[in-house]
């Protein structure tokens, strides 16, 4: 990674920081409320009072982007976190105990992976209702099997190292070995995988919003905003393109950060 690599890394960090700050400070920005309809200005380009223009219903795009960021950030970070916790709970014991528990857990994972994700999300939101919480949990459950596989593979790798044997040699039990010896080592690759999943989940939430399955309107979400502008793409492309660009930059930044962190970790491992 040269000088250029580190510049893009810091740009990515900067962008994510901006998005997070915007999501937190959304209510205090000098823009109209996100659900305030201005019937005189439908899908207008940027103008005074509407720095990024309005959407097809005359709502301020800048305000909706700010509040939509809350949805994207919460879903984007919390869903992978849910997935990581669930995945570790399944994957670490599978890798540690091998044998029958492992086969059972692997079977569950394979079943989950084979189940069509979209159908799962449809059923889940139908049963529990579409809200920020259900979307987050549903996407978390959906990513859990992949986390479990990463957790299992890394657990197997570390469980055979001699420091685990040394811990057993001083009488440490299974639980304490998993907690103290295995988990800290499995966590690093899991976190890196999580950075990849964050990008995926933000896009997935956008997709759900596009299908109208994300947070119910009129609450703003980036995916919903993109969907809202698709009918007038030829007349007012900015209605879709601005949220698309914001989402694109966010996902790209997360992935760039993930690659940089992975590079650092690989170098650390390489020294061992």
């Amino acid at each position: 990674m040269g000088k250029r690599g580190s510049i893009t890394f810091w740009l990515a960090i900067g962008w994510i920081a901006v998005v997070i700050v915007c999501a937190i400070t959304a209510p205090w920005w000098p823009v109209p409320a996100p659900d305030l309809i201005d019937p005189d200005l439908l899908a207008t380009p940027p103008c005074v009072g509407h720095p990024l223009g309005t959407d097809t219903m005359g709502r301020d795009i800048a305000a909706r982007l700010l509040f939509g960021a809350r949805v994207s950030i919460i879903v984007g970070f919390c869903a992978p976190l849910v997935g990581m916790v669930l995945g570790s709970l399944l994957g670490v014991p599978a890798g540690f105990y091998r044998g029958r528990p492992e086969r059972l857990i692997l079977f569950i994972l394979d079943t989950l992976l084979a189940f069509p994700g979209l159908v799962f999300l449809l059923v889940f939101t139908f049963v529990f209702g579409a809200s920020l919480t259900t979307i987050t949990v549903a996407l978390g459950v959906l990513t859990a099997p992949r986390f479990a596989r990463v957790a299992r593979a890394n657990t197997i790798r570390f469980a055979e190292r001699e420091f685990v044997l040394a811990a057993r040699g001083v009488g440490a039990g299974d639980f304490s070995i998993i907690l103290r010896e295995i988990l800290p080592n499995v966590l690093a690759p899991m976190l890196i995988y999580m950075l990849l999943v964050i990008g995926f989940v933000i896009v997935a939430e956008g997709g759900l919003g596009f299908l109208g399955l994300s947070v119910p309107s009129p609450a703003p979400s980036w995916g919903g905003m993109i969907a809202g502008g698709r009918d007038i793409l030829d007349q007012a492309p900015h209605v879709s393109l601005i949220p698309t660009a914001v989402m694109f930059l966010t996902v790209l930044s997360v992935n760039l950060i993930g690659d940089a962190v992975r590079g650092r970790l690989d170098r650390r491992e390489g020294q061992l």
Binding site: L165, V170, G171, A172, N185
Partner: protein, 330 residues
């Protein structure tokens, strides 16, 4: 410890008919260790020598109960470890500790050196952070690490020799009686190897340890051990005091091992032909009778039929061979 205790006359460790078998594919078994017996006296170091695949690591782990052996007894200070229940075994574990071959792999990469050294105390239930840290720092100084500089380091910031010092410190934290060293210097440079051997000798005296020292190099064993045991394909071939063994090895395999040690002497005549013809047979299906017979120049019909018992040919010098070399033959 009470000096008049009659227990002190007994050997510290008594291994009896220890057998380790692993399942292999198609229902067959790997005979890693087959009926090994030996004693280890207090403050004595026994060097266990053999090639890779001879079962010496399996033997070490069976003694450590990691995992328990398939059969046989491991009696430490009167307690049969192999028959202990897990709760009792956990208490006894402070008495026997182990050092591994690969120093980098034997330390948890995500922990600091200090945390690794303190881990045994934590596992033994010594709570009180300050006391643990104090003891760890004392131990670090004892094994030649700088307590202030190295305490917060992580394994990848240390050299191989320093990692091995950390491993030794960790093993000594529980004040053990027995230290099992599984090839502790095999992956180190010669210069570092000398440092670690010297350190082991030092702590052995200081802490009154008995040691089972595993190696594949007889020169290393000669430097540190009081007694030597040679192992081949899961069985002991020869057990003797160091002086006797190096003066007059009796088993043909011991001689081959001695021949193979590199001599730092450019005029030393190298054996022209291979010392050990053929390959190590598979431990799934070991040869009948004497397991070394397939590579032994002295093998006769008897060797294939009958397994030679470990018998005494001189006081304290035991050999498992039908045709051993006696001192008078030399």
């Amino acid at each position: 410890m009470n000096g008049n205790n009659p227990k002190n006359q007994e050997p510290l460790l008594r291994v009896k008919d220890l057998t380790v078998e692993y399942p292999a594919c198609r229902g067959r078994k790997v005979h890693a260790v087959s009926g090994v017996s030996f004693d280890l006296a207090r403050r004595e170091t026994l060097g266990l020598v053999g090639e890779s695949g001879c079962g010496k690591s399996s033997l070490a782990r069976a003694i450590m109960q990691l995992p328990k052996p398939t059969a046989g007894k491991v009696i430490l200070d009167g307690d049969d470890l192999a028959a202990c229940d897990p709760v009792r075994l956990r208490i006894l574990r402070s008495r026997f500790q182990m050092i591994f071959q690969d120093p980098a792999s034997s330390l948890n990469p995500s922990r600091t050196v200090g945390a690794s050294i303190e881990a045994p105390l934590l596992a033994m239930g010594h709570h009180g952070r300050e006391e643990r840290t104090r003891q760890a720092k004392v131990m670090m100084a004892a094994v030649g690490l700088d307590p202030e500089r190295h305490y917060g380091r992580r394994p990848h910031q240390l050299s191989g020799g320093q990692c091995q010092r950390v491993a030794i410190a960790r093993a000594l934290m529980t004040n053990p009686r027995l230290l099992v060293c599984d090839e502790p210097v095999s992956s180190l440079d010669v210069s570092v190897q000398a440092q670690i051997l010297n350190l082991l000798r030092e702590v052995r005296g200081e802490y009154g340890l008995s040691m089972l020292f595993i190696a594949h190099d007889l020169a290393v064993v000669k430097n540190i051990a009081d007694r030597v045991a040679v192992m081949y394909l899961g069985r002991l071939c020869e057990v003797a005091q160091c002086e006797d063994f190096y003066r007059a090895p009796a088993h043909p395999y011991s001689m081959a091992l001695l021949d193979a040690v590199p001599r730092p002497d450019p005029r030393h005549l190298l054996p022209a032909t291979g010392m050990l013809p053929g390959e190590l047979p598979s431990a799934i299906d070991p040869p009948s009778g004497c397991r070394f017979r397939t590579r032994c120049r002295r093998a006769e019909a008897l060797c294939a039929m009958e397994c030679p018992e470990l018998r005494e040919i001189a006081p304290g010098h035991k050999v498992a061979c039908h045709f051993p070399t006696f001192v008078k033959d030399l």
